[in-house]
């Protein structure tokens, strides 16, 4: 499934633990280990048993761990999430899958009214250690409701945490971390990145995660943002599939002498306000990039956090380069909707050219 490589770019330590793998492989390996390490963990959803999921994230897990641990449910999202609540009440650690982002809508009642509130309603006696995997965002020319970005919706709900990895390395570690926590986590997988390979150091979450360090087990490195590229002139803030696009933009901007920092937010709730303050405190300019529609998107939240910490030193208002306030379009128009390199470069230009008064 995976091959050992000798020296992955950007990873200099624990080379023996480094594997080159796709995000699909990294997630699959994480789930395999979670099942092996935590006997209370169960994986279920539509087609994630025998088929291994439509994206093959659960490939081979039922054969290896048995039908009690990895199973198919009837085709009903509210049922899958409502069932997760009961399993958690019975002491299990459910890892349900909603097959595509847009299919979370039929389950919103169970997610918002039940999963997010049960710990509170029960005064902490019925925690909900549920990791809800949601293949998310656009970019694969899929049918309607297969390209949605729901992070703002989930982040707005008290009681939920939201995370989205952008690399195979982070996908592996963040999934294992999320599944080890006692609170519900919405795990948004950037489906357009499933097949991109990258170095994964399974022994150490820290390489390439420079935003926080210092704690003994490195778990601190999994709770905050990650500086994906260091720069001096401007910070691009992104998550999920937009991180790699922002890295491309940074390379192009560098040709014009603009040194762009890329901050991979990773956690969309809680947002790492400290990492935003550190990065933008240094660069004094910021552009937030997300696929979700503009209005009331997380870009507004990020802009406010930056304004709060960096108002005195900001050179320009925080810009947002996002999807539009329209239903996610059909595949032919997808490239017009998702922030592309040109639109992000225009956003950078607006910030750089901003003059007071």
């Amino acid at each position: 499934m995976s091959e050992t490589i000798t020296a992955a770019p950007g990873i200099e330590t624990a080379a023996a633990g480094v594997r080159q793998m796709s995000m699909q492989q990294a997630l699959n390996r994480a789930l395999d280990e979670i099942l092996a390490e935590n006997p209370k963990s169960v994986i279920f959803g539509e087609d994630c048993g025998r088929l291994g999921g439509v994206f093959r994230i659960t490939d081979g897990l039922q054969a290896k761990h048995g039908e009690a641990r990895v199973f198919d449910t009837p085709l009903a999202e509210s049922g899958i999430l409502g069932m997760s609540v009961g399993l958690a009440m019975a002491g299990f650690h459910p890892i349900p899958e909603v097959q595509f982002d847009g299919f979370a809508y039929p389950a919103i009642n169970q997610i918002v009214c039940q999963i997010a509130r049960m710990n509170y309603r029960s005064r902490g006696t019925l925690p909900m250690p549920i990791t809800l995997r949601v293949p998310s965002f656009g970019g694969i020319r899929a049918p309607e409701h297969h390209g949605e970005s729901l992070e703002a919706l989930f982040a707005h709900v008290p009681g939920l945490k939201v995370v989205s990895p952008s690399t195979p390395h982070d996908a592996y570690h963040l999934l294992k971390y999320a599944a080890s926590r006692p609170d519900p986590v919405i795990f948004m997988e950037p489906k357009s990145r499933y097949w991109q390979k990258g170095p994964v150091d399974v022994t150490n979450p820290l390489p390439g995660t420079a935003a926080h360090d210092g704690d003994a087990d490195n778990s601190g490195s999994l709770t905050g943002a990650r500086v994906a590229r260091e720069g001096r002139h401007l910070t691009l803030v992104a998550w999920g599939a937009m991180v790699s696009r922002c890295l491309q933009v940074a390379e192009l901007a560098a040709e014009d002498g603009i040194d762009v920092e890329v901050l991979d937010l990773r956690w969309l709730k809680p947002i790492d306000a400290e990492a935003l303050a550190t990065s933008v405190g240094k660069t004094r300019r910021a552009v937030v990039v997300h696929e979700a529609p503009l209005t009331s998107g997380l870009g507004a939240e990020v802009a406010q956090l930056i304004t709060q910490s960096c108002f005195a030193t900001l050179k320009a208002p925080v810009e947002r380069v996002t999807g539009f306030d329209v239903p996610y379009p059909s595949g032919d128009l997808e490239d017009e909707y998702i922030p592309n390199i040109d639109r992000i470069l225009f956003g950078i230009q607006r910030v750089l050219e901003y003059r007071r008064g």
Partner: protein, 350 residues
């Protein structure tokens, strides 16, 4: 009416209730009746802000709750299951605290009580019962020993899609779930015939491949026996059962409701049938199980209990505001912690 098996009748060959058990059932029903009517009075007196009475549903609630084995079963209520809670021996101050507006889910411990937090979303917890029950299957208890989930909902809630999903999931996975429907004739102002074509929720069970039974919900013994049979069926590994207890909501939907806007007193008298408490009393008298002295004592106990619960409720102060923040997560986020700090500084001036 009599108990009518709709499909796949569940046999009950267990022993008939002893006289002691019959008297215990009456004592419970009397306690529930008095606490329920008192709670409405509390609301009128300003002791609690609101209440959802279960008047008329004492037999359905006590009869079913009495069949629960608190060592292994788990009950998933909505917001009108006070009688079930009392039959299961819950801390009634903790239960009633939800109506005092102390805490939404109630102040009792759901794990120790085997009674999930009070639920305001109709049919919200039906799927939870299925998940919990599937957990019992996964835990691999020996057949005949498995814990059973019992979920309560009404004829109105049966219109919710989650009930369909829950019945389908439970049937497909053969989960040990008792779906206990109290068909009380009304969903606030909308009568059953506007919710359920054909009038029977139990009849729907056949479509899911689930055995069902429609029982006289005003006959506490019939309800108990139907529930006991359903539990035996589930425990033996045969999958879920649907019980529809036909009863009547004699009171308003809640203390904020005015049934005079949608039904007349004559209709109420006609449709409500015989009072389940009075009916059971006459039966116990006729069968020589209890005498007037027993009933007087049951009433005295009920009044004593109501007084204790009322005093307990009155003594409940508001929860510390810090709990708004501290109970959201097991591991609170930094943003929430800073909101808690700001709230404390600005509201307590510390």
């Amino acid at each position: 009416m009599t108990t009518k098996a709709v499909r796949g009748a569940v046999e009950d060959d267990a022993a008939p209730l002893t006289h002691h058990q019959l008297r215990e059932l009456y004592t419970l029903m009397a306690a529930v009746r008095h606490l329920d009517t008192s709670a409405v009075a509390w609301q009128r007196q300003g002791i609690i802000p609101g209440y959802a009475p279960e008047l008329g549903q004492e037999a359905a609630q006590v009869g079913s709750g009495y069949a629960v084995d608190r060592t292994r079963d788990f009950v998933f209520p909505t917001y009108r299951e006070m009688g079930v809670a009392r039959a299961m021996g819950l801390d009634m101050v903790g239960y009633m605290s939800t109506h005092k507006a102390t805490w939404h889910g109630g102040m009792y411990n759901p794990l120790e009580s085997r009674f999930a937090p009070i639920q305001a979303v109709v049919a919200g917890s039906v799927l939870h019962a299925v998940g919990w029950a599937h957990g019992q299957t996964l835990a691999g208890h020996a057949t005949g020993d498995i814990g059973v989930a019992m979920t309560y909902f009404g004829d109105g809630a049966s219109s919710q899609g989650d009930v369909h999903e829950a019945m389908n999931f439970a049937a497909v996975m053969k989960s040990p779930v008792v779906f206990f429907i109290q068909n009380n004739g009304w969903a606030i102002s909308v009568p059953t015939e506007r919710q359920v074509a054909g009038g029977s929720v139990a009849a729907r069970a056949a479509g899911y491949g689930i055995p069902s039974v429609q029982v006289d919900g005003n006959d506490v013994v019939a309800v108990f026996e139907a529930t006991r049979s359903a539990f035996a069926h589930c425990r033996a590994g045969n999958g879920p059962v649907v019980i529809e207890a036909m009863t009547y909501r004699r009171g308003p939907h809640s203390t904020a409701d005015d049934p005079g806007r949608y039904r007349t007193l004559d209709e109420e008298r006609l449709d409500a049938g015989e009072d389940p408490l009075e009916r059971f009393k006459q039966r116990l008298l006729t069968d020589g199980v209890a005498d007037e002295a027993f009933f007087a004592e049951a009433q005295r106990l009920a009044e004593e209990e109501e007084e204790a619960v009322r005093e307990g409720i009155a003594e409940l102060g508001p929860r510390p505001g810090a709990e708004m923040f501290s109970l959201v997560f097991q591991e609170p986020t930094p943003a929430l912690q800073s909101q808690a700090t700001a709230w404390r500084e600005e509201s307590e001036h510390v």
